[in-house]
Symmetry: C2
Subunit: 278 residues, 2 copies
């Protein structure tokens, strides 16, 4: 196959060849290329999921250095418009549908399931922490960083006055239609989690059932942060891509704190909707 970069099968008739852009007009070359590529994607010259020309051929087409093209592609990848695979190529991101999270359910897993989505939970790690009261700590070390810095005063974070003893921290991720969707952390008092909990289901429901508790969300905090290397690897996104940070507390019917939760949700795939019933 000697296929030239500018000629392809489907939709090729409306595809314009990549040609050099006007230079030095106030905007950087990489930004002009970024805009041009985004424009072509929006015009469906490159269909969703389709592979873009290689960096080398793009650089050749635009008449620029490969590093300049890379800068443009990196920016598009961060914005979620393009997905890049090492050794394979760059692809137009499949329709960046933002799945709506409706408020009300105790767990994100349940929220999505109740909307008929194919949601799956994949456990990364289970960590047991000693009783924070006994060690004099303020709670689970290192977890505050995951929730962003300075989100709350330390004293009110990560302790369970009503349920002393060791804690369990669950690290897992949610996949929606097999697409990584969010990286989550949950901290609960160890004593509350039943032994026979089905790992495919929500731990919060298991706790509620085992102890006859009615759990509800006490508060939520929303912010945004950049994906770090770990987020990027787990969620299949670029380093620096925007994440919706959602942290919250679950309490039971007596107002006792039962769980702390932190979700790091792909910004390009999620929207959290809150309707005020009046």
């Amino acid at each position: 196959m000697t296929a030239a970069a500018g000629e392809m099968g489907d939709g090729g008739e409306r595809r314009r060849p990549i040609t050099p852009l006007p230079r030095g007009a106030g905007t950087a070359l990489w930004d002009a290329i970024r805009a041009d590529l985004l424009d072509r994607i929006k015009r469906l010259e490159f269909a969703a999921g389709e592979q873009l020309p290689s960096e080398a051929s793009l650089a050749d087409g635009y008449g620029v250095n490969r590093m300049t093209v890379r800068r443009a592609l990196a920016e598009l990848a961060r914005a979620g418009a393009v997905r890049t695979e090492h050794g394979v190529g760059s692809f137009v991101a499949p329709q960046p549908i933002r799945h709506r999270i409706d408020d009300g359910n105790i767990s994100l897993l349940e929220s999505m399931n109740s909307r008929g989505h194919a949601v799956r939970q994949e456990h990364q790690q289970v960590i047991t922490h000693p009783d924070p009261a006994a060690t004099g700590d303020q709670g689970v070390p290192g977890l505050a960083q995951l929730a962003g810095v300075g989100l709350s005063s330390p004293s009110e974070l990560w302790t369970f006055p009503a349920f002393p003893g060791p804690l369990v921290e669950y690290r897992y991720k949610l996949l929606l239609d097999e697409v990584p969707w969010c990286r989550s952390f949950a901290v609960l008092p160890s004593q509350l989690v039943p032994e026979d909990w089905d790992r495919d289901k929500s731990v919060f429901n298991a706790v509620a059932d085992a102890h006859d508790l009615q759990l509800r969300r006490d508060d939520r905090r929303f912010s945004a942060l950049a994906a770090d290397a770990r987020d990027a690897a787990l969620l299949d996104i670029a380093v620096g891509a925007p994440l919706l940070l959602l942290s919250g507390t679950n309490v039971d019917q007596h107002g006792r704190i039962v769980a702390y939760i932190v979700h790091r949700i792909r910004g390009d795939r999620a929207e959290y909707a809150l309707h005020v019933p009046r």
Copy 2:
């Protein structure tokens, strides 16, 4: 002044000199440098607000090319740890305090004011749009992009069934303690906005007062996206920095839609807190 890069006045006694890092150990050089700089910032070797060594001297110290240092600094800037000024230098970002937005107030301006913050509103633009019903449009063109793509079905967006006629779109930004904090868009029916509205105050309050309406939030939608060039310029952040996207609807006591609002809030400076009263 012949000051060597490794020697400075305040806090210098605990500052380690910049020396080459071990190479090729699985992680990229730029990432190792990023981590090293972040570590030094956290250890207060570089105090908040302090100027970092120049890119050239960092490259010299680490024994790498300047581009490698730039990659590290760019990543730190996106994450909000560092702020870079063209022609001046790079600085440790002043304490990245996330100001909490408490839910309940109709306007973000009022939310922050009620917490005793020095908030100021800076108007960028006022745009009048023709009656969407008359032109057959679905509302305000271009605004959907600002709210992110696919946030809602178009039919329910940007139209005011109860208040026909032209629309006004306000583009403004909020500053908190004179630091750019969020870029906002509000769309209202033109007929509702009083002529004598004091531009320093909330337009929503002006509308409520003028027509004796009780406004409340009907819904909110949260997501995250990357700052574009315009965001970056207005909010004084790096392109690609994470923004908290908050869009919502205001209705009056009869349930009539009175305003659509979109906020693009700096992720490093804001946290939206929601407390469920039970």
